[in-house]
Amino acid sequence: MARPKKKKNKEIFALGNEAVVEGALLAGCDFYAGYPITPSSEIMEIMAQRLPRIPNGSFVQMEDEIGGLGAVIGASLAGRKALTATSGPGFSLMQEHIGYGCITETPLVIVNVMRGGPSTGLPTSPAQGDVQQARWGTHGDHSIIVLSASNVQECLEMTIEAFNLAEKYRTPVILLIDEITAHTREKITIPNEAEFEVFNRTLPTMPPEWYKPYEETVRGVPPMPAIGSGYRFHVTGLTHDVNGFPTSRPDEVRELNERLFRKIDQFLHDVQIVEEIDTEDAEVAVIAYGTVARSAELAVKQARDLGVKAGLLKLKTLFPYPRKATEKLMYRAKTIIVPEMNMGQISREVKRVNNGQVSVRTINKVDGQIITPAEILKVLTRV
């Protein structure tokens, strides 16, 4: 009797930017709007090819990134799963609408392929300069989810994750990758449908006349109907009450603002994704994200070969900052090294967690070049 053939996963040779598209489509993305910008343009170009070929898919090139994110929010309100991709200068333009997405609790995903800055900076060189901007770029106190990916496979996986978190928590999710990963071509495996989960926003089950668009729920995330589905409600960037209408009553304002934080903060275990490599007995540990985490992984391996008890905490969620995972690392490690292609944006968070138990060393590089394994290894072996 012939053994049933195990269906082999599809493998492709893809750019990081292509993997983002694959991930988005697997997660159910059916809308893209944006504006071309190096080094993220491939995402838009491939979307222009692919979206018209899937049922209900739509694509529109807007006049700028402000328009791009505006159209994405509009489409998401109309029930679509929408994506836009950009790089530093475009990300700066998007900040206004990120805040709108936060206060109206609109699920959407922004991929920011980081390049050198400030301003026009280094369009074709990598950097990690937009990390704190992703967290705090839009005005007003707000909560947001920021993810990162360090290789092409992760670009695919984290894009799926980004859509799931956006839908689950009704929030904008920002995925930060950098120019190197975006433009690296490597073999990746496309997961089978059974191997990953797709989460869709919760729809209201009550009749339209009972529906209150911003009512408190157990999870803190109200159900969200699509525009045109019979639930007519008001969406506004003004601070609103449970019915969605503008308010300045202190009790209603407080309720909304606190819920926007609470809905994410009470599920940190679900939101904070990290990968621990050789951390159990690590005396010196590296905390890294993005392409730098890849260099760090090799450096840690080499340091182990040299007899150094090294470990790596790879951050896939940058914000809300994985405080618990960092604290756990600090119980044993005496030194933490934070290599970044900026002057110290995540090391700031690490130092906030630290309380002075360990020594935090940073490796900062802002010359448009990647931090190499050798550079990390040098610090690993010296401490």
């Binding site: 529109v60 309100l77 007519r232 209408f245």
Partner: protein, 278 residues
């Protein structure tokens, strides 16, 4: 829908769970536009669920909250970008955008001309009161030369935009201008605008006594309505007036009416070809 008349009709479409009173000053023309919009939608027999009102920021932006449709109150100047997303995602939806003059032609000027060029199937109502009303009466891109405003205390020195010419040049499918004094004509213009495929613009001249009139020699809102009556003339009549005598007069009526299919129609047609061809 049953034949309902006058204020009864308005009540049918207002949101009763919204905390009234509204924000409009006495003498404001925005409420007249709201009435006209409701009559137009009722006249076309559109279902409330199939209408989406997208508004920008400013006094006109508040209009959306009062009516019982799908309503989105967006960021300053960006209403058309949201509307583009909604129309592309739900091509069957009647998307009507309500903006002010500063909203649509200053901060949102780029979005306006590109929406017109792109010919996305939304209808934009531009409530032109020649001033930034909500922020306290600053000069807008349509403030006439010489006018006194909070930011031009010695008189406005810049040229102002002609919304109709701007949108016509940018390629809009439907361009019209009306006023809140000529309500019947306004009703039919808005109806035509909604029915027409592709991008439509209706510029609506509306007075702002509180922020504009008081500083520019008008003694009462009524005087401003009289000025509208005098100055907004049918385009056929306007063309007959010799150029030297035109003064503050502006032409009104439908200036452009083309039936080029909107971007969303073209896109989904292309998508159907892509999916069918495979």
């Amino acid at each position: 829908m049953a034949d309902i008349k006058g204020t009864q009709l308005i009540h049918e479409y207002l949101r009763h769970n919204k905390k009234f009173p509204h924000v409009f000053c006495s003498g404001c023309g925005h409420g007249i536009v709201l009435g006209s919009l409701i009559r137009s939608i009722h006249g076309l027999g559109l279902s409330k669920d199939d209408v989406c009102i997208v508004a920008g920021i400013g006094c006109s932006g508040r209009l959306a909250a009062y009516v019982d449709f799908n309503t989105v109150h967006t960021c300053h100047g960006r209403a058309l970008t949201f509307a583009t997303g909604i129309k592309m995602a739900k091509p069957g939806m009647h998307v009507i955008v309500v903006m002010g003059d500063g909203d649509s032609m200053a901060i949102g000027g780029n979005h306006l001309i590109h929406a017109a060029r792109r010919n996305i199937g939304v209808t934009a109502l531009i409530l032109n009161n020649n001033i930034y009303g909500m922020t306290g009466g600053q000069c807008s891109p349509t403030t006439p030369a010489g006018a006194n405003t909070q930011t031009t205390p010695m008189g406005q020195m810049e040229q102002s935009f002609d919304c109709v010419e701007l949108c016509t040049a940018a390629g809009a499918n439907f361009v019209a201008r009306g006023s809140v004094f000529h309500v019947k004509r306004l009703d039919s213009m808005i109806m035509e605008g909604i029915k027409n495929p592709g991008f439509g613009v209706v510029e609506i001249m509306t007075p702002c006594f509180t922020q504009y009139g008081r500083k520019n020699g008008f003694k009462s809102p009524v005087e401003m309505f009289h000025a509208l009556k005098k100055n907004v003339v049918k385009r056929e009549r306007f063309d007959e007036i010799p150029e030297a005598d035109r003064g503050e007069k502006v032409p009104s009526g439908i200036f452009v009416q083309k039936d080029t299919p909107g971007l969303e129609e073209k896109f989904y047609e292309m998508a159907a070809r892509c999916q069918g061809g495979k």
